[in-house]
């Protein structure tokens, strides 16, 4: 017997300081839905299971195809992208909650600016701004490209940080995404000019040393980034940089 409805329970809060409440919904079943289309259905008719009118559920989303990194949330308790979480493969009732380690803005939308701040701290960019044309960049060998490409797939969804036991208020750990981006830009022939600064930044409090190697990041990453390999490589580079700084600076 085909099921006729989809049961959803959503943890909601109306503002950053407000208390969280759980609202239950029952949506007419359609085959092939994902969580974002489910939330779209609720927005079309925001009425809970008891028939009480409510507001559409707030959540971040943009591309709807797992490439922008916006719609990460806890789906049945686990951090996932809402767009690639298929309703037909989820146990019901489906529970939706905001990521637990980031301040809630409203409902399922959280403030993930800590990742942006971290990326700025490690200068995760290629410094090519100047007052004159810098000309073409140096050539990048295919071997380097092949190592860099998987790292460039990061969508800044922060799922690696959410699932990390070391990413919390007590440690202030920087998280796997930033470490992987450090490797990406250190391996860029133009970006490597900032390599030493990046490696020094990663040795600050909350830096790469806080990693406990639980490897949840690499398990949970929706884009399959080689995060543990990046952490290991950067662990060595940060250490070598610290030793160099100790003896040669």
């Amino acid at each position: 017997m085909a099921q006729s409805t989809i049961k959803v329970e959503i943890k909601r809060q109306s503002s950053p300081g407000a208390a969280a409440v759980t609202e239950k919904f029952e949506i007419p079943y359609r085959p092939g839905m994902n969580i974002t289309s489910l939330l779209g259905e609720i927005a079309l008719n925001p009425v809970d299971v008891a028939g009480k009118a409510t507001t559409p559920v707030t959540y971040d989303s943009n591309c709807l195809e797992e490439i922008c990194g916006s719609c990460a949330m806890l789906i049945n308790g686990k951090a996932r992208m809402a767009c690639s979480a298929l309703v037909d493969k989820l146990e019901q009732p489906i529970t939706l909650a905001p990521l637990s380690k980031f301040p809630v803005v409203r409902d399922l939308a959280v403030d993930r600016s800590v990742l942006f701040e971290n990326l700025k701290k490690v200068k995760a960019w290629v410094p090519i701004d100047g007052t004159y044309d810098l000309g073409p960049g140096p050539k990048q060998a295919p071997q380097i490209q092949e190592q860099r490409y998987p790292l460039s797939n990061c969508i800044s969804c922060t799922i690696c940080m959410e699932v990390c036991p070391q990413f919390n208020d007590a440690t202030g750990f920087v998280g796997a995404a930033t470490i992987a981006q450090t490797k990406l830009f250190n391996m860029d022939p133009s970006g490597s000019v900032l390599k030493e600064e990046r490696l020094r930044a990663l040795a600050g409090d909350g830096g790469i040393q806080e990693c406990g190697f639980a490897q949840n990041c690499v398990q949970a990453c929706p884009k399959q980034l080689p995060l543990t390999e990046a952490i290991s490589d950067m662990g060595r580079d940060v250490f070598v940089q610290q030793v160099k700084d100790l003896f040669a600076r």
Binding site: V163, A170, G204, E210, N216, E229, S232, G235
Partner: protein, 264 residues
Amino acid sequence: MATAAPPAPPATPQLHGVQPLRAGEGNSYLWRKLHSLTGIVPIGAFLVEHIISNFETLNGPLAYAQQVKFLNSLPLVRILEWGLIFIPLAFHALYGLFIAVRGRSNVNVYPWAGNWMYLSQRVTGVIAFLYIIQHVWRQRFAGVSLPENPGAAFHKVQVELSNPWMLAIYVVAMIATSWHFAYGIWLFAAKWGITPGEKARKKFGYVCGVVGTALCLMGLASIWAVVYKYPNAPENVLPEQPAGVVLPASQTSSPISDPSFVQK
């Protein structure tokens, strides 16, 4: 002409939640790396030495006594003991507790192998810490002093293990400590960039598993030897060993000044 002051730039919004990386701040990198390193040397090296030395119990109380005597006759042995065992161990233990209390284990949500190992490293560390406190106190500092009485070592351990609860504690602690050390080597290689690749980590995992299992079995065999292989060991199998080097005292004159000694 507008006289109004230009609008103030929006204040930097106060970040709630986990704070960003403190680039260039603090010394936690140094302490964390020291914690990692001390786990391998000197503490890990000492653990291996300790288990190998204890393995002498399989050759009986006298062999064990000679091993204890040998270790206590090492040059600067008290400095070695404090500098390479007690102080690094205390640091590793206390900093390890600090690391453990700041972690937020989530194996209930993400029951993955690496996540379980993360938790196991903290649990086995705490077990080892509690065990080592009582072990060092009861075997090194309380009761008969083994550096001066190496012959009493076997009997002292045997009396300790005659209590079935203490025997159980030793077995559990043996397993926990070997586990902690074996996974600790694996973690060290992974975090210091010695085994960055997926395959390298897997292969090294087998190596660590073999090392840990071997150490654990050797330790358990030593416990078995003390409890079952040589029951009722004598209280002391060697005469009292004076601390430091002392010439035999009971002679009337030293052999060098003895005329009969010179004539020969």
